[in-house]
């Protein structure tokens, strides 16, 4: 019995309990609190001796093909689990007088993400993610913020995209399993596969093919350009907790999968020329195209949703660079982006509930009446445009630096040009974020739309996230130490 198993089980059990009629808010909050505590405990434990997989434990499910419910955590997964438990706590906390299904789905999504991040068996990694997708879809379709027809359409779009993506992913994983199962038995155990991959590495060309399939599969889940068009409407429509959890946490699964499965098993796959160029093109699409799209958005939720698509580009950049610095930067960025976007979506949800609209030309001067709210929002906004001192900066700068480690004075490779263009994306994100900030909070207070600060207890979840941003922004090494031996 490993602590990780409790961490995974807790939210799911809580969800079940709520379904069976336990007091929703109490149960959920309790579960998430304990969960966060456990995660922190595990993190501290691990930080003491950050090496390899910890808290491992495996229960055999099937003999042949060998599938076992194996858990284990290293720095990367711990960071993501920390993210999950933080966001889940905040998401559950900020729910106000909503039906139980809000709590249930939040817990399910959170628990699914936990499972995906903590299991070390390809089968379960995949399975848990899918498990988390269902409530997302249901919630968008049932409690989304649009008229029934529209939100159903949005939900369908998301589901079809994600479903298709998952199937491509499944194909890719199946291919991996078939290639790397040593002996005459299929095995899904990541460690076994990795060992086999090290024993008998594939020719680079083949690695490239498999990697590309995985990239498409995972990429669709992360809204990699041009498979992104599900994301923005989905987030804009999704109920607040779902938007927070999916954009903040669940979306990171694809990247996690690439880092955890694709890169170790196919070390040369990402570096093969055509794959890398394709990836660079796609992520530029994310950054530049989506950047412009975001600039064009004129509602807060659109801006946020598109921006969260855009920022994936930087994480992919980290993967494309593939150096240790860049990868760790990418992980850091995943964490940072998760927290910041969750914070922003949470606040955005509050605004929508109180004001009923998010259109820039209808808003203005909110800072006058809701200063605390403004400060919290500023934390999120400035974090997401990569202001130093807030979490995202460290990640971004590491990604950039990591892409420049093998740079010879004089010649710039495609990667370097991509980085330079990506840097322009930073400017663009400043453009739209400040525009949003100025239109909503600055200017003369619009008397028609009036909003006050949330009560303190409702401020706490956001404060939690903001504090996380600040702390990890000032001391990124706290997280980096966890990854000493990883990657």
């Amino acid at each position: 019995m490993s602590v990780l198993e409790i961490i995974i089980a807790l939210p799911l059990l809580a969800a079940l309990a709520v379904w069976l009629g336990a007091p929703a808010r109490a149960a959920s909050l309790g579960a998430t609190f304990v969960n966060l505590a456990l995660v922190l405990y595990a993190t501290v434990q691990y930080a003491a001796k950050p090496a390899g997989l910890a808290f491992t434990n495996a229960r055999v499910v099937l003999e042949n093909p060998a599938i076992s419910f194996a858990v284990g955590a290293d720095g990367v997964s711990l960071i993501l689990v920390l993210l999950t438990s933080l966001v889940m706590l905040a998401a559950v906390w900020q729910i106000e007088d909503r039906p139980n299904i809000f709590y249930i789905s939040s817990l399910l999504i959170g628990g699914g993400a936990m499972g995906a991040f903590l299991t070390t068996d390809v089968f379960f990694i995949y399975a848990f993610h899918e498990l988390a997708l269902i409530p997302t879809f249901l919630m968008i379709a049932l409690h989304g913020r649009a008229d029934a027809a529209q939100r159903k359409a949005v939900a369908w779009k998301a589901t079809i995209y994600l479903g298709a993506g998952s199937l491509v992913l499944l194909a890719g994983l199946a291919w991996l399993v078939l290639e790397f199962s040593g002996g005459s038995k299929l095995t899904f155990d990541l460690e076994a596969l990795r060992n086999q991959a090290q024993l008998t590495p594939l020719p680079a060309a083949k690695q490239a093919q498999i990697f590309f399939v995985l990239l498409l599969g995972f990429g669709t889940l992360v809204s990699l350009f041009p498979f992104h068009s599900w994301a923005a409407p989905a987030y804009a429509t999704a109920p607040t907790p779902v938007a927070m959890l999916h954009s903040g946490v669940l979306k990171k699964f694809g990247l996690y999968g690439l880092i955890r499965i694709a890169l170790p098993l196919l070390p040369q796959g990402a570096q093969v020329e055509w794959v890398q160029n394709a990836l660079l093109l796609m992520l530029l699409g994310n950054i530049l195209v989506m950047g412009l799209v975001t600039i064009h958005a004129n509602r807060l939720d659109d801006t946020l949703a598109n921006s969260s698509v855009m920022h994936m580009g930087y994480i992919f950049l980290g993967l494309a660079a593939g150096t240790e610095i860049a990868l760790k930067g990418a992980v850091l960025l995943m964490f940072a982006h998760g927290v910041s976007i969750a914070l922003l979506f949470g606040l955005c949800g509050r605004m929508r509930n109180q004001l009923g609209t998010l259109e820039y030309n209808k808003l203005g001067g909110l800072a006058t009446h809701a200063p605390a709210f403004t400060v919290l929002f500023a934390f999120g906004a400035f974090a997401s445009i990569g202001l130093p001192g807030l979490a995202n900066f460290a990640g971004e700068v590491m990604v950039f630096a990591g892409s420049f480690t093998e740079f010879k004075a004089g010649e710039l490779s495609n990667l370097h040009w991509t980085v330079i263009l990506a840097l322009w994306g930073v400017v663009m994100s400043a453009v739209y974020m400040l525009r949003a900030y100025r239109n909503i909070f600055h200017g003369s207070a619009n008397t028609g739309l009036f909003m006050t600060d949330p009560v303190f207890s409702q401020r706490l979840p956001f404060i939690l996230l903001a504090a996380t941003l600040l702390i990890t922004g000032c001391c990124p090494w706290l997280l980096l130490n966890l990854m000493k031996s990883a990657l």
């Binding site: 079809i160 195209v289 799209v293 400060v375």
Partner: protein, 625 residues
């Protein structure tokens, strides 16, 4: 030790104030001012500290990449540190009076402390990443301070503009840092970089040296300075930044932050020196900015804007000096104007900091006295109403014009000297012209605002500002007189360049320019109630804002619109809608099979059998295995 106090004290006060100002209302002001005073005292000790470069805080250490918060303590940082903390303290004190009845005082002082923190960071920065971090943070604090009165649309726009313009600069800065980072094997520590460029792998005669790279790196870094120090073409934000409270303008947009660009350039002057092309471009842009800004200044009517443009042109001066010195160095005039011990740009920065801060504070006092009236044509005759302000203001003006034996005189001469040595006459002449223009518009300002008779009753009832505001003015005026002399310069490590002889031309030029400018101004403006000359081009700042608006609208909004449309149509259409449609068609088609007619089914069944037999018996065997 001192370094960390100076750095962290304002940080914590800022944090405390910004997060908890609801709880500690008035106290926040005291905290901020107190911290500024303490750090000034600490800074005095700091002046005596000896050179070193030690890590204060860890930030990122991964593999070859470690960007810590480290302090590079040397002559330059010490001197700059003094300016920052000294002017900063005075501005804090001044603000006590100026912001007395502002309901958002805590926010103001909190941001001020935040600025002190970030500026300190820039000054102490020992590596480029750290410098970038604080580079951005000063951007933030200036954003907050410019937008202090965010209810005013103009202020809201101004702070946005400032931040974005700076972002563009930072874009270049970051690229430059990355280039250096990559080229120097992940080490961007200033000292190591210097060694790398002078004697290390990046020196001109090293194998695999690429001039293009050096120039590119230099220019990218310079772009950062362009943004921060508001050089052409990114200068547009500074005048608008005057929307912020006047003390802010004095501290940030005159004395310190905008000077950070110059400071940074001096820090990396080895890089500039390494690339002739870069040096020329920098010098060119510098003097261009100086000239243009001076021209614009001559037609401004808002007292703060006049000062703002003057700041622009002075910054141009400094940048030009950086370039010029580098060019001179390339021509072999080593020693004379080398970056160490004294750099003309730094020296001018130093003197300029005092008198320009004083001028701004003076204007602040004036505005305060005139109930936030900023149009100089609505003032007049203030000399009698507020004598102290007048005299300090006059001293400042004189210093700025470079009246002999005032601090400005020495520094300006040093800069012109550098321009002269650079071997490029254009620089020198432009510099001289700028000096003349400076004299002209400052005199104009002085005459219009302080002489003659009051033109409005707000000017009529103007009274002397309170003590807290007078005091800093007085102190600053002293400095702007003396800071040119070794008396102050030496202990304060102003990096005063040795006053080299043999620059008669320079001396005469500056004097001539002075006389010319002042004469013209007096002749034109004496006792006038409205502007006798009006040159639309200058008044409208060469229509830069208009041009930029167009560019932004075309290159950003239109483009965004188009791209969005394309994204919706193509990406979404091809990736999502098309396959969906195909599948739907197929589904409908297959559904047709289920007509519900028994005959149809039997036919299908029979046909199926035929087909299967055909396939299995006649086709597959042919295909072989």
């Amino acid at each position: 030790m001192h370094a960390s106090i100076i750095l962290l004290l304002p940080f914590f006060s800022a944090l405390l104030i910004l997060l908890g100002h609801r709880q500690l209302k008035g106290a926040s002001v005291l905290i901020s001012v107190g911290s500024s005073i303490i750090s000034f005292i600490a800074c005095l000790f700091f002046l005596a500290a000896d050179d070193d470069n030690r890590l204060l805080l860890p930030f990122i250490e991964v593999g070859t990449f470690n960007a810590g918060i480290d302090a590079l303590i040397d002559k330059q940082s010490r001197g700059m540190m003094f300016i920052v903390s000294f002017v900063g303290m005075l501005v804090h004190i001044f603000s006590l009076g100026y912001m007395k009845d502002d309901e958002a005082k805590p926010r103001f002082f909190g941001s001020l402390s935040l600025f002190m923190f970030s500026m300190t960071g820039i000054v102490l920065a020992g590596n480029l990443f750290m410098m970038f971090i604080f580079w951005e943070l000063v951007g933030l604090s200036s954003y907050l301070l410019i937008g202090h009165w965010y209810q005013k649309a103009s202020a809201a726009e101004a702070c946005k503009k400032a931040f974005l313009t700076n972002r563009i600069g930072d874009f270049g800065f970051m690229i430059g840092i990355l280039l250096l980072f990559g080229a120097n094997g992940g080490n961007v520590n200033l000292i190591d970089l210097e060694t790398a460029f002078t004697s290390g792998p990046l020196r001109p005669d090293a194998p695999g040296y690429s001039a293009g790279f050096t120039t590119a790196a230099a220019l990218c870094i310079f772009l950062g300075a362009v943004g921060k120090s508001a050089q052409f073409p990114l200068h547009v934000w500074l005048p608008d930044a005057m929307e912020g409270p006047t003390p802010v303008s004095a501290l940030i947009h005159a004395a310190t932050m905008v000077a950070a660009g110059v400071y940074m350039l001096v820090r990396v002057s080895f890089l500039v020196t390494a690339s002739p092309l870069a040096a020329e471009i920098i010098a060119g842009i510098g003097c261009g900015t100086a000239l243009l800004a001076a021209l614009m200044a001559t037609q401004q009517n808002d007292i703060k804007r006049v000062l703002a443009y003057s700041t622009l042109s002075q910054l141009g001066y400094m940048v030009m000096a950086v370039g010029a010195v580098a060019m001179a160095a390339q021509h072999g005039h080593q020693g004379a104007h080398a970056a160490d011990p004294g750099h003309p740009a730094m020296f001018h920065l130093y003197t300029h900091a005092f008198f320009k801060a004083m001028l701004f504070l003076g204007s602040g006092a004036v505005i305060y006295a005139c109930h936030h009236e900023q149009d100089i044509w609505k003032m007049g005759g203030l000399r009698k109403h507020m004598p102290v302000t007048f005299w300090t203001f006059a001293i400042g003006t004189a210093a700025l014009m470079g009246v002999p034996f005032l601090s400005g005189f020495w520094s300006k001469e040093a800069v012109l000297g550098a321009a002269y040595d650079s071997g490029c006459k254009v620089l020198f002449l432009a510099g001289a012209a700028t000096a003349a223009l400076t004299a002209f518009y400052m005199t104009r300002l002085l005459i219009v605002a302080f002489f003659g008779k009051p033109r409005t009753d707000s000017a009529h009832h103007a009274t002397e500002a309170p003590m807290v505001m007078i005091l800093p003015l007085a102190i600053l005026s002293i400095f702007s007189v003396l800071s040119g002399y070794d008396v102050l310069a030496a202990p304060l490590q102003a990096m005063k360049p040795p006053h080299v002889e043999g620059h008669q031309t320079v001396l005469f030029a500056s004097l001539a320019a002075l006389v010319l400018g002042v004469g013209a101004a007096i002749y034109l403006y004496r006792g006038k109630d409205k502007d006798p000359v009006s040159i639309k081009l200058f008044a409208n700042k060469f229509y830069f804002d208009e041009i930029y608006t167009v560019i932004v609208r075309v290159c950003q909004d239109r483009l965004a619109w188009i791209v969005t449309a394309l994204e919706r149509v193509f990406v979404d259409g091809i990736v999502a809608r098309l396959p969906a449609a195909i599948i739907a068609r197929l589904g409908a088609a297959t559904r047709m099979l289920q007509g519900g007619h028994l005959q149809g089914y039997t036919f299908l069944l029979g046909g199926g059998v035929i087909a299967v037999i055909y396939l299995v018996v006649f086709v597959l065997p042919r295909l072989g295995h």
